[in-house]
Symmetry: C2
Subunit: 145 residues, 2 copies
DNA sequence: TTGCTTGCAAAGGATTTGCAACATG
DNA sequence: CATGTTGCAAATCCTTTGCAAGCAA
């Protein structure tokens, strides 16, 4: 967390932006989360520590964190932006349970390789991709799904 | 197109739904398109043939087409629902140019296999997935991207 | 005739933005 | 003290929905 805060601090000064208690609180809360989180959910948590905070501030901050390279935006296909840690948290894909919404991060170098090769086959230079695997997790299947 | 219209007709009667000129016009327009299309864009086209049509009708119709198995919903990560043909048009992934938005449909059985295996490794039973590959197409790269 | 459909406009949900008051460097 | 930042509410974007009038079966 120290490293992330330092990075963010540098990002702020480099861009002539200011360090505010709101930004510190939001960053702190975001960093403590292990799982990805939506702006709305983060707002709910942050509000408990500072009821006067506005949700626009949270939205703005998450965008800022993404720009600073500390957060990465996810898209589970429901039009809700979720953010996960990006620092020291290499690329991975997501496995998502259709029933309980449990998510698992998966890394599969072979899939990445294949994607690159497929793209090249069509003359594309790959920059990034988004892969979400949907299904039913072990738990939910046991209970008859 | 004949087959699709027949399927849709059957779907309507089986569900006690009605055949209307609006539905016919929208289906016809959708079927003539080769590429995926958003509700809004489809509405713009349809409106030229019948200016009195409402966009809600187009939205409702696209949902109906998806239910009837004639259309498939895409999600390019921008919160806009796009629909492509589903009949006689097997599953594939999309390669999308970040510059000119050109899209290419790609099929790679190996990727599908791998996904299934990865899911199983984590105890998941895969139902579906969403894979979008983003990059720069041959054309855009030539011009210096 | 019954009840599905339509077009309209209003509502919806997530996110963004304009603005005046405020606070940081 | 210049300028970035905040909270609020209004605006935005795409999509859905309530409703009264219209139309298919």
């Amino acid at each position: 967390m120290r490293a992330e805060k330092e990075i963010f601090g540098k990002y702020l000064s480099r861009h002539n932006l200011r360090d505010t208690p709101q930004r510190e609180l939001i960053l702190d809360t975001f960093l403590k989360r292990e799982e990805h989180i939506s702006a709305e959910d983060l707002y709910d948590i942050v509000k408990k520590r500072d009821p006067s905070i506005g949700q626009a501030t949270v939205y703005r901050m998450l965008k800022l964190l993404a720009e600073a390279g500390l957060a990465r935006e996810l898209d589970f296909g429901d039009c809700i932006k979720r953010y996960e840690h990006n620092y020291n948290h290499p690329h991975h894909d997501h496995l998502i349970c259709r029933k309980c919404e449990k998510t698992v991060e998966v890394v599969e170098p072979q899939i990445e390789d294949l994607q690159k090769r497929v793209a090249e086959k069509y003359g594309f230079k790959l920059t990034d991709h988004s892969l979400y695997l949907y299904g039913y997790c072990a738990n939910c299947r046991k209970r008859g799904n």
